[in-house]
Amino acid sequence: MPTLLLLMLVLPLAGAVAAAALGPSRGEAVRWTSLLATVASLVLALVLAVNFASLPRPEGKRTFLPEFVPGAPGLIPDAQGAVTKTREDPHATSWDLLPLGRGAIQFYVGIDGLNVWLLVLTALLMVSSVLVSWTSVTERVNEYYAWLLALGTGMLGVFLAFDVVLFYVFFELTLVPLFFLIGIWGGPQRQHAARKFFIYTLTGSLITLLGVLAIVLVCYERSKDWTDNVGELTFSMPRLVEMVQTIRQGMGRMNAQELALWLNIQRWIFLALMAGFAIKVPLVPLHTWLPLAHVEAPTAGSVLLAGVLLKIGAYGFLRFCLPLVPDASVSLGAPLIGTLAVIGIIYGAFCALSQDDIKKLVAYSSVSHLGFCMLGMFALTAAGLTGSLLQMINHGLSTGALFLLVGMLYERYHTRKMADYGGIAARLKLLGFFMVFICLTSVGLPGLNGFVGEVLVLMGAYDLQMSQGQFPLLAAVAVTGIVLGAWYLLTMLRRVFFGPVKEPRVEGHGTVADLNLRELAALLPIAAACVALGVYPQPVLDASRRDLQVVADIVGTASGMQGAAAPAEHVEQVAEEVRR
């Protein structure tokens, strides 16, 4: 299995090299190579996911436990120094990239409940992206597919990484291919969009890197308390989570000053981590790069940007912020991000409502939907986290498919203005059908995937505030977001697909035909996944339950901690809970 995992990660990259080497003149060969690489990667992802879902997952330990880790298990340096290592470390691998004294930055990848479905989603959308670019990209074909496939490896790597620095490495490596994809094959404002996207994300992620280094160093410093002043330097995410738990167990023994310092450190680290992830999600004041990048990107770029890359931000919150700085996530994150998320839901929806450009509408709808995702996550309950993870996958499927459809429409008529269209459903029956169907999944029609996620998210948000004896304001406002979502999407459907037929003038192109087999192949798997998730989401939820529960437990022990002013006996009680 570890070999398959590596193969899944490397296949797109190998395809990229092959595509680049084939040269610009052999377009067909390049396309088929890319398709082969992505399909193989998807098959491997599915095999791995099925295998993972059938694994018995150990309960009890309060940290992530990645499966299928390539390399031999790592070794723990003994107390005297780094020279002899005897004990096996369950939270590391033997593949060191950069030894840093007693620790090492490692090539530590694996699958657990949080990333397994995101991997499948990524692999699936990669196939669709290759298919949808088949005829629309004719210039510099080999370069295009090379960057697209390299992006695939970067995205899979982000989700797979269990080493904090490795995560950052892949996180940044997704920027480069997308920069070229937007910049070379994008719309009229592509240069500006590409640079804005790149700089925005880079700035945030560099600050995130500092946060990551800070958490490693804080754990190192504090670990001296229980390792005879030697300290344990690790970059392994599961180990760091464990160490943070150990430190928090000691919170009961801290005096008020130490406790305030510890909470303060957490708060700064949370803000540093948040910088990169909030831009990526994007949370509302930091979203300005998104509409531009989405609109200017070529179709495949938009699909992957909305379908996968935005999830990296949300995934980062889930993987880093909640388990590594739980107290700050509760005291600072929940009110701050909850509020921003709700503002995003409403603001994104109103922006979408006022667009005439279909692609821009879908772009703003992403802001709104990701708001739901973040709201659920920072409800900090198991239900909310589950809903949030499900919402990530749902949004990937629905919005990915919406961008695919918009791209297909644009390829036919070369305009995205809603005013130019009317009654297209009568003209292009299959395309119309899929558009209606995907819009319904996105709106959250019961029986389709969007519904399950949204309900769980709202339940989580409702619980959070009710349990604090407040009026569930966030959930109430968020509900209006769903209504608005239905409004703008159905308005778009009415204007473009129904009513009197009004086709844009097609200049210099052949007759406009309905979806062909290739386009159906790109859409059908996504639509099928939408139905499957809506009707029977249980297997997906089961596979993720254990790790979501870990996160929920960790933040659960921090819930109710209201910053530095928490009364000592309460802290004692929390510490007690942690020990149990």
Binding site: G81, D96, L97, L98, P99, L100, G101, R102, G103, V165, Y168, V169, F170, E172, L173, L175, V176, F179, F180, G183, I184, R190, Q191, A194, R195, F198, I199, L202, T203, L206, I207, L209, L210, L213, A214, L217, E221, N229, G231, L233
Partner: protein, 546 residues
């Protein structure tokens, strides 16, 4: 240390300078031979052979102490002390020198090729000496050995007005900075009564206190100013953009890399950031346990000064880099900004947690790693420009590179690699270098004074890296996202392409498998067995006790 020991230490110097001697002999041969026969291929090849010979000499030459006497004598009496760090720096100089010879191969006129390469060899000998200098006067002489050939080098490949202006500017400012440096050295000597670096460190260490004596402070400030010129730290950077713009790409590459190596190595040595091991043996019998000569105490002021220098250097370098249209000027400001990043390592070198032994790389290792990485990416970028420029068609504006990905796909890809490395994107050497520098800044002793300020430095550093991304990216945008305006000629020059490939290989290898470079660097650092002597700032209690 008695007189006989001093004499023997001085006599033992000769085996230590064999690599430098080989370089100088080679240079003399080139100077003489050049008067008989011109020819760039001939003398370029001769320079490469000399460098290879020096490499062999380096491999076989001994390290200090040469005679199995006490280390203490060699350390406190000899003008040169070749420790593992010195060997590493010599190796870097020789490899870098080979790349620079390849870069300039086709740029120098046939007529001046011998002189050009001979000057280059002398300059490299200067770097090698700087690495092992153990004494202020020797250090000054080595630095001059780097500077003087540089003036000639700037004149030789081009003699139009801008090139002459560049050379003149560099000459005047360099002389000025040397004077500042000498002034600083004289104060240090006046205070300590010795020019020997370890002895100087001990004297300053003896007077341990958090405040430096005023004389020492003036001396150190002058030293930092004089060396700041070589590393293009703001406000001593004024020459860089004009000189880089006025000269050829390969000479600019040389200016961007070589003086920085000299400057940082000299700073590390003079400020005592690299402690020496003392192993006193008679035969094989160990007389004295391994100890480390204490590093110089810099008080609170010098780190503060360096903090300001680092912040201003990187910020100004990057902000001015944003405004440039000329690619060589842009790379000049980038070189200023990179000096700022490396200064971060210098600021925090003293404040790494003690007691952790060789726990993780600190500021000094980060500087050394970044120097090599920076050399690979900057020389690589200039080498690409050198490959594309012809005397009729020099690459000046960023726009001259428009559409390079169509006309020269390979070179464009490598240029993007160097640019991304300069931005600090993962999988390149630049990323690992920045990671180590920021790691050093974040990993300062939590109880050290001003620990918060050092963490702030890391934050300022990453924000600068983001600013810098804007102008590096601009070049990538021009090369990949725009159509060619006036296509550049095809490139057939194999030496230039070899240089570019070497730099690219180093950038990638150090980026993908950083241990390959970091491990030798860590091995070159003296191992501190008694970590207490490495302790950053004296603990207040200790200081009072003294």
């Amino acid at each position: 240390v008695n007189n006989e020991q001093v004499v023997s230490a001085l006599l033992n110097v000769y085996p230590l300078i064999v690599p430098e001697a080989v370089l100088l002999v080679g240079a003399c041969v080139l100077f003489l031979g050049g008067t008989f026969r011109p020819g760039r291929s001939l003398w370029g090849a001769a320079a490469l052979v000399t460098l290879a010979a020096a490499g062999v000499a380096l491999w076989f030459s001994p390290q200090s102490p040469v005679a199995p006497t006490e280390t203490r004598v060699a350390l406190f009496a000899s003008p040169l002390y070749v420790d593992r760090l010195a060997v590493l720096i010599k190796a870097v100089a020789l490899v870098g020198g080979a790349v620079l010879v390849l870069c300039s191969w086709n740029e120098v006129p046939d007529r001046w090729a011998a002189e050009f390469h001979a000057c280059l060899l002398i300059l490299l000998a200067g770097i090698c000496l700087t690495g092992s200098a153990n004494e202020l006067v020797t250090l000054f002489v080595s630095l001059e050995l780097v500077s003087i050939p540089t003036y000639v080098l700037l004149y030789l490949p081009r003699y139009d007005n801008p090139a002459q202006e560049a050379a003149m500017k560099y000459f005047l400012l360099s002389v000025f900075s040397s004077a500042l440096l000498l002034f600083g050295f004289s104060y240090l000597y006046g205070m300590a009564g010795t020019t020997n670096l370890p002895a100087l460190a001990e004297v300053l260490d003896r007077s341990r206190s958090t405040a430096l004596p005023g004389v020492a402070l003036i001396g150190l400030v002058m030293v930092v100013a004089g060396l700041g010129f070589r590393i293009t730290a703001v406000p001593f950077h004024f020459y860089a953009p004009d000189v880089y713009q006025g000269t050829t790409p390969s000479a600019a590459a040389l200016l961007a890399f070589v003086p920085k190596v000299a400057g940082f190595v000299a700073l590390l040595r003079v400020l005592g950031f690299v402690p020496h091991e003392i192993v006193t043996t008679r035969g094989t019998e160990l007389l004295e346990a391994t100890g480390v000569v204490p590093t110089m105490v810099l008080g609170a002021q010098v780190p503060h000064l360096l903090w300001i220098l680092a912040t201003v250097t990187m910020t100004l370098g990057n902000v001015l880099g944003l405004l440039q249209d000329n690619i060589k000027r842009m790379l000049a400001y980038s070189s200023v900004a990179n000096a700022g990043y490396m200064l971060i390592g210098l600021v925090v070198a003293r404040f790494q947690p003690a007691g952790s032994g060789a726990s993780y790389p600190g500021g000094v290792e980060a500087i050394l790693f970044y120097l090599v990485a920076y050399g690979a990416m900057t020389v690589g970028a200039f080498a690409v420009l050198g490959c594309l420029s012809t005397p009729q068609r020099p690459v000046e504006k960023i726009d001259d590179l428009a559409g390079l990905s169509r006309t020269h796909p390979g070179l464009a890809l490598l240029m993007v690699l160097f640019l991304f490395s300069l931005i600090g994107l993962p999988a390149t050497a630049g990323f690992v270098g920045k990671l180590l520098l920021f790691w050093g800044a974040m990993a300062v002793e939590p109880n050290a004074m001003d620990a918060l300020w050092f963490r702030m430095l890391a934050l300022i550093g990453v924000l600068n890296a983001a600013i810098a991304a804007w102008y590096y990216l601009r070049v990538a945008v021009v090369m990949y996202l725009r159509n060619p305006l006036r296509p550049l000629d095809k490139v057939h020059a194999w030496p230039g392409l070899t240089a570019v490939s070497l730099c690219a290989a180093l950038t990638l290898v150090a980026g993908l498998y950083p241990a390959s470079l970091l491990v030798p660097i860590q091995q070159a650092m003296p191992r501190a067995s008694s970590a207490a002597t490495l302790s950053a700032v004296p603990q207040p209690a200790q200081a009072n006790a003294r």
